[in-house]
Amino acid sequence: MPFIPHTENDIADMLAAIGVSKIDDLFDEIRSEIPVATLNHMPEGMCESDMTRLLTERMPDFKWGSCFIGAGSYEHFIPAAVWDIVTRGEFYTAYTPYQPEASQGTLEVIYEYQSMMAELMAMEVSNASLYDGASAMVEAVLMALRIQKNNAHKILVPKNLHPHYRDVLKSILNYHPFELIEWDYDKKSGRVDVTQLQKINKDEFAAVIVTQPNFFGVIEETDTLTQLIHEKNALIIAVVNPIAMALLNPPGKWGNHGADIVCGEGQPLGVPMAGGGPYFGFLCCRKKDIRQLPGRIVGRTHDAQGRQGFVLTLQAREQHIRRAKATSNICTNQGLLVTAATIYMRLLGAKGLHEVAKKCLENTEKLKKLLSAVNGVKILFDAPTFHEFAIQCEKPIEDIIVAMKKNHLQAGFVLKNNYPELQNSLLVCVTETKRDKDLEKYQGILQ
């Protein structure tokens, strides 16, 4: 019996100790009006060898150099050490660190993560993480509404923010009394429309979301935007790519005062794409707002003997204590993923992260150059990009995707489903995992 260690003798002894004759007796409080499950549509169990065979047969193909899709999930090389350590049983099967004396390993890792994340974003404090970038952004919006004093209840949301993030925002904030206003983008540059921002009134908006880079891979003029937004008395919620922050100006340094709340998807930091999750969302803010920060936070302290130790702190804000008045209903932090990110960041250091970011940029520029030389292919936006860019083709995009597939390439993300104004267009991502031969192959198929 898989995972049940009891022998027949064990069972007999235990039943005797309890004072019943069979296990079924232990369910005698469940009235017969509730039928016992038959589970007729449940398959019978499999042995490990059969299961391995089946799951391996169902496994999709994988080849390095084939994936040119980004759109919120990014292929980066993860050094072997990262997941070797993360999957140690002591990290992998540890519980939430509510008993700190038994969880110093996990707690210290999270403290390191908080420190590095805050440093990477140039913000004062970071929490222990949330589920993913989209939900972190939702929490950032809710937090902005809590700390904003101007009583405004409009949020400006860029159209060139990831479409799925905008969907999640609508799904979760459906029950809250405030308005999401769409911020259009400039069709030439791919950047947010500054004139629309200039036209909004002071105190009209509680918060404005600024992305870096935006969904099209385009790099925004974050200093200019920050100045303008703060002049309008709105808070800035920065949604950023963490690898990009090793190369570009981080949100804590935007404009004169920096962004107010920073969030984003942490997956690029040592977490595999794994079919869409688990990932982790990061959330950073100023120290003065720390009590409004949702999720778990680890703090450093000492025990009675003066030994340094780490604990979950500020738990009084969380659901298990405040209940209906909690800052959020969130229970979890993405402990395992945060451990991976921490090891990844430690292994690479700022220098290594910078190298990865630079390589992403270089490879993207290379492919851009190669593709702009192809007849019938247009680079859609003229502003600088990071590791993604949009192209528009004369041939139907479906045909291009099929041709790429035949050559074992995943061409990119088709844009028209979310941006009907961008017909026959593709969002192409190039990270440091690509080699020149991959880029030449891509160009070759397009020609």
């Binding site: 589970l39 099967t93 008993q99 038994a102 939900s135 999640v168 981080p250 009675a304 451990t339």
Partner: protein, 458 residues
């Protein structure tokens, strides 16, 4: 073109050599308790064994490096896994349809409550603004209800019998009732015997029933929430389906619905037709409450849950509740024999049970916290303490079905030692733990002086 946008200087994150990284993190890991090293009788958390084969398969490149936006045609096997998992969960829970996208229990809970809200609004029943929640419920329940715009009305539970006060429930329902959020077995660790009557009362008043799946391990394969009258529920893969806790996450909280609520399930889900497997999106599910996850939920966690269920199969699933319940009842009896007080001595334990240390506290001054801390000295992770809030000095103990009689007997032995120590050397218990890397930490200092970032000593 972007020089003015470049970062200067680089962040202060030092590069560490690979050997130093391996040593540092390996040593840190050794400071942790974990299922693979210690017994974890944490009530309400279901710390069962996480199969290594699940981890091995999930680590294979085809699954590990899979981009979520891969064309469906190129990942039919992956979609088949999702589809099969949806079906298995529906069969285990007695529900009609399942969405695997919520990324944790709390999100699955939010989804369930949001679906109830959508149902009523769809019927222009805008006055249904109240969600009924037992006073013993977990804190996420009222928090989720509030996030969906409901006001919370608390229903008292009898701390003597463990059942919900049916009279109070009858008085509390009315035209404003949107529904009720329940766990069964309840947070008291006992089965809600009147569940059919409760379902009747709520349904008759026009409300719906949400099931918090935290305690599903107690009934897995035995009885099903759908058959008890629940309209929607969430599950916790990291509890019932043995996916790893990872030091606080990731979880995964699929949501399952019966006929009334299935059209509101969050997207995307996997469908099947003659051409194969495909994603069901907002287009195919116009009444869906929408997307909760950027992609399709925690695919890596769901894969592990799927593998676990395929290994278990029909008979294995039935054995889960049988042996979880056997282990819990055995422990409860053995602890009572030593002198501990069960909170519900006349009731069957479900997969967990509550010991109240109040008599011990009154006699010796030793609290549930002291017992918990002293257990750590014996290499046993403490049970859940001070939850549910209604039982004073409580320890909520859940052994799970994957623990052997030998492990349970050792736990009983240790609890006996602690019981004796309480009577002979209470001060020792109050100073525990002694053998862990640190002793009791100054949590007041941590909250007052807020040191949440910095350089660690090593």
């Amino acid at each position: 073109m972007i020089n003015h946008l470049l970062r200067q200087p680089l962040p202060n994150i030092p590069t560490t050599s690979e050997l130093d990284v391996i040593r540092h993190f390996t040593r840190l890991s050794q400071k942790n308790f974990s299922i693979e090293t210690n017994f974890y009788p944490l009530g309400s958390c279901t710390m069962k064994y996480n199969p290594r084969s699940a981890k091995a398969i999930a680590s294979l490149p085809g699954y590990f490096h899979l981009h979520p936006l891969t064309d469906s045609a190129d990942m039919q096997g992956h979609l088949e896994n999702y589809f099969e998992l949806q079906n298995m969960i529906a069969e285990l829970t007695g529900m009609s349809a399942v969405s695997l996208t919520p990324m944790a229990g709390a999100q699955g809970e939010f989804a369930g409550v949001a679906m109830i809200s959508a149902y009523h609004r769809d019927r222009h029943d805008f006055d249904r603004t109240e969600m009924l929640i037992p006073d013993a419920a977990h804190g996420t329940n009222p928090a989720s209800a509030r996030m969906c715009g409901f006001t919370v009305k608390e229903i008292p539970t009898c701390t003597k019998t463990g059942d919900i006060d049916l009279d109070a429930l009858q008085k509390a329902v009315g035209p404003k009732t949107a529904g009720i959020m329940l766990t069964n077995p309840s947070t008291f660790g006992v089965f809600e015997r009147e569940i059919k009557k409760i379902a009747e009362i709520i349904h008759q008043a026009g409300g719906l029933l949400y099931y918090d799946g935290a305690n599903l391990n107690a009934i897995l394969g035995r009885v099903r929430p759908g058959d008890m009258g629940f309209d929607v529920m969430h599950l916790n893969c990291h509890k019932t389906f043995a996916t790893p806790h990872g030091g606080g996450g990731p979880g995964s909280g699929p949501v399952a619905a019966g006929a009334r609520l299935k059209e509101y399930l969050p997207t995307p889900m996997v469908g099947k037709n003659n051409d194969g497997y495909f994603w069901l999106t907002q287009k195919e599910c116009p009444k869906s409450i929408g997307r909760l996850s950027c992609f399709m939920g925690n695919a890596g966690v769901l894969l592990r849950a799927h593998i676990y269920l395929r290994l278990l199969g029909k008979s294995g699933a039935k054995r889960v509740s049988q042996f979880a319940t056997l282990n819990a009842n055995y422990l409860m009896k053995q602890l009572e024999k030593i002198g501990y007080t069960a909170a519900f001595p006349k009731r069957r334990a479900s997969h967990e049970f509550i010991i109240t240390a109040k008599p011990l506290t009154q006699k010796t001054g030793v609290t549930a916290l002291d017992i918990a801390k002293r257990l750590l000295d014996f290499g046993i992770y403490a049970p859940t303490i001070y939850f549910p809030l209604l039982i004073p000095e409580c320890l909520l103990i859940e052994p799970t079905e994957t623990e052997s009689k030998k492990t349970l007997d050792r736990f009983v032995e240790v609890m006996k030692i602690i019981y004796n120590e309480a009577h002979t050397d209470a001060a020792k218990l109050k100073g525990a733990p002694y053998t862990t890397p640190v002793g009791r930490l100054d949590e007041v200092k941590a909250a007052r002086e807020l040191d949440v970032r910095g350089v660690t000593d090593e």
